[in-house]
Symmetry: C2
Subunit: 409 residues, 2 copies
């Protein structure tokens, strides 16, 4: 804990990853855990681990301002379910990490730890930056479009958006009820798996419980209909990873999942905006002037989407999920670009969710795996996509791919 606080003192001024830090509370929690351990009492699988919690996730002992001036100093009555589960397992909430406004697009002050002139991505901006800067080994995030995978990729850390519904959402800000997913950003896959196991209350997710990895690992490469929008460095990264995996024994095939999955990117945007306009009905009604212009316009767009178009987007989601299931028969994991390139210049945007949207729509688990550096020296990444409900298999396949890639160099 003292290491985390020292690191925080060094890095936070230039980084602005935290919306709130509770150093005293974290020290007290760590001391209490030490005392429990000394007394021989069980302290839980995350005992003493300092964790950052995205500031759209309620904490009863720290403010939860949702990245919006509307909620400055807001004090929830309860810990979110995931925070309570974290604490019950010995995790210590070091502080609340910066989120884009209401988990959407308008950025907070956080900078990319690899280049202060660039965005860390978002909306889980502070969680990605805090892990990348070595302040905390893991942090909680949420994803509705690409809010875990994109910042994880831009900051060069592991990002895990589990299967929709795996981690309880009670006490987490709702933006789009049929998309919002709680997940974990972390320094290592095994840590991410351990934290997820606690948050989902599923002991089948810890590395020790993973079934032995398939041999050979069967990868299906999806270059996506947005391939033309992917920057050369990100394309090259995908090809390099696919090639290295094949060279190290993986069976790599190309997948073309079909028209509904192609349409899923646009359908995800429809669902996100239409449901967001409803979820934020109170803010739209009473305080529109206190929302960012970006968000206000997107929500106005969402509110104007007619019911038939919303129904069609949900139908696309169901059909895309079927297509993906069928296309991935005999495949262990999908390999696809995580982001379209390095973190863009500037702090006025969190980057483009284009490549993350479709996987969120279909509810499948996704891991962002760091994979080298781009032309400006910033992290690049690939995304691994698993089958719905098979989160342990995805994490295990990701670990196996990491081992194959380490064999690469």
């Amino acid at each position: 804990m003292e290491r985390a606080l020292t690191r925080l003192g060094e890095r936070e001024p230039g980084l602005q990853a935290f919306a709130h830090v509770d150093a005293e509370g974290a020290r007290a929690a760590a001391r209490a855990l030490d005392a429990q351990a000394s007394a021989g009492a069980p302290v839980g699988p995350l005992a003493g681990m300092p964790i950052g919690v995205k500031d759209v996730i309620d904490t009863a002992d720290q403010p939860t301002a949702l990245g919006s001036p509307l909620f400055e100093g807001r004090r929830p009555a309860r810990d979110a379910a995931c925070v309570a589960l974290l604490r019950a397992a010995g995790g210590v909430v070091l502080g609340k990490t910066v989120t884009a406004e209401l988990a959407a697009f308008h950025p907070g002050p956080t900078r990319n730890p690899h280049d202060a002139a660039r965005t860390p991505g978002g909306s889980s901006s502070g969680s990605a930056a805090a892990v990348a800067a070595g302040i905390v080994p893991a942090a909680l995030g949420t994803q509705t479009g690409g809010s875990i995978i994109r910042p994880a990729a831009y900051c060069g850390v592991i990002g895990f958006k589990p299967t929709f519904g795996l981690i309880p959402r009670a006490g987490v800000l709702a933006f789009a009820d049929s998309l919002d997913t709680v997940g974990v950003l972390g320094a290592r896959l095994d840590l991410v798996a351990r934290v997820t196991a606690v948050l989902a209350d599923r002991d089948d997710l810890v590395p020790e419980a993973w079934s032995s990895p398939p041999a050979p690992l069967r990868l299906g490469v999806v270059r996506t209909p947005e391939w033309d929008a992917v920057q050369p460095a990100a394309r090259a990264t995908l090809e390099r990873v696919a090639g290295a995996a094949a060279a190290n024994g993986a069976r790599v095939t190309d997948l073309d999942p079909g028209p509904a999955l192609a349409a899923a990117t646009q359908a995800q945007r429809t669902v996100q905006l239409a449901e967001g306009a409803l979820a934020l009905a109170d803010e739209r009604r009473r305080h529109p002037e206190r929302l960012s212009a970006t968000l206000r316009e997107l929500l106005d767009e969402g509110a104007a989407i007619p019911p038939a178009q919303r129904d069609a987007a949900h139908a696309t989601a169901r059909e895309a999920a079927r297509e993906l299931r069928a296309a991935t028969e005999g495949i262990d994991v999908v390999l696809t670009p995580a982001v379209d390139g390095e973190a863009p210049q500037g702090l006025d945007s969190t980057g483009d969710p284009l490549l993350q949207r479709r996987w969120t729509l279909v509810g499948v688990p996704v891991v962002s795996l760091p994979a080298g550096r781009g032309p400006s020296g910033l992290p690049l990444a690939v995304a691994l996509v698993g089958r719905r409900g098979e989160d342990a298999a995805l994490l295990s396949a990701a670990a196996q791919l990491q081992r194959l890639l380490e064999g690469e160099g």
Copy 2:
């Protein structure tokens, strides 16, 4: 509004339907709407309608205590999305209606308006009682097991649990994320449809938008594997409604949907308890002694359910939904018992959710339709079950059945 307040003054002392009443706020809102209307400004489709809001749904201007001493006086920062939508349409929140503890089973003080010695049902106890007593024409409820349909049936009002996800849940207490559904209790079907249209922001739900009803109406009767537990009066009610519908031109057939739908009642209980134990992780961790013994024991049971059993229950839900879709090809609506009998004696239980559980698990829309009186003179009801996402068709079929039954006597 004055009528509602007068009625409240007469009935509330013996009824205890409200956890909080905001008479002054309601009068002010009604005056503001009058002034808007006088000025020729649009006032919305629910202009001036007094509405009760279940006390697990957040209101920024009234306390939201979740039916638990843990949250006495709790003041949310935001209106729940459904409350904001209601208000934007001119609806006036007269007050917060009594809920069973945390939308589960431990009852509040509310009495059945038809017999003060009997439960009104729950967990939307106050919403059902306030409508039945004529205090408000409509009230919001939530259902995770049978929390709208059961109290609506016991109190003799219309209850509507829409398709899962139709009404936004932002700002509503989460108990079981994959089951929790916001719905409406009301004095008449058309009112319920109008309020639902506002809450879902779907103008295709108002009666004027319903497509012309099928002729003849095709009813599929599901007597359920729990038929032996249904009391004679409730069985007779179902048979009488089916017979009267047939006599008045409906085509009535018997349905036996299959083994997964038979198993769905138990699977719903598994999902509800397992997800409830996670959603209420903070209360279980920090304040177990302030939960009722009933709830604490159920949550302990839920926390002990292993991941494989949770997965199996979700698989049952998917398979049961498929079975029901297949079994209802060529059927407009399923007719099935709403409850097992009249509201039971006593205020120490809200009755048995046995007959409501399976329909909640599969996410289909359900209407509870009052249908005569039982041997003790209390209301009985039938449930009408529609196809997922076809809420307007269900409401329209329910209205058609009501007309057929009126032709009965």
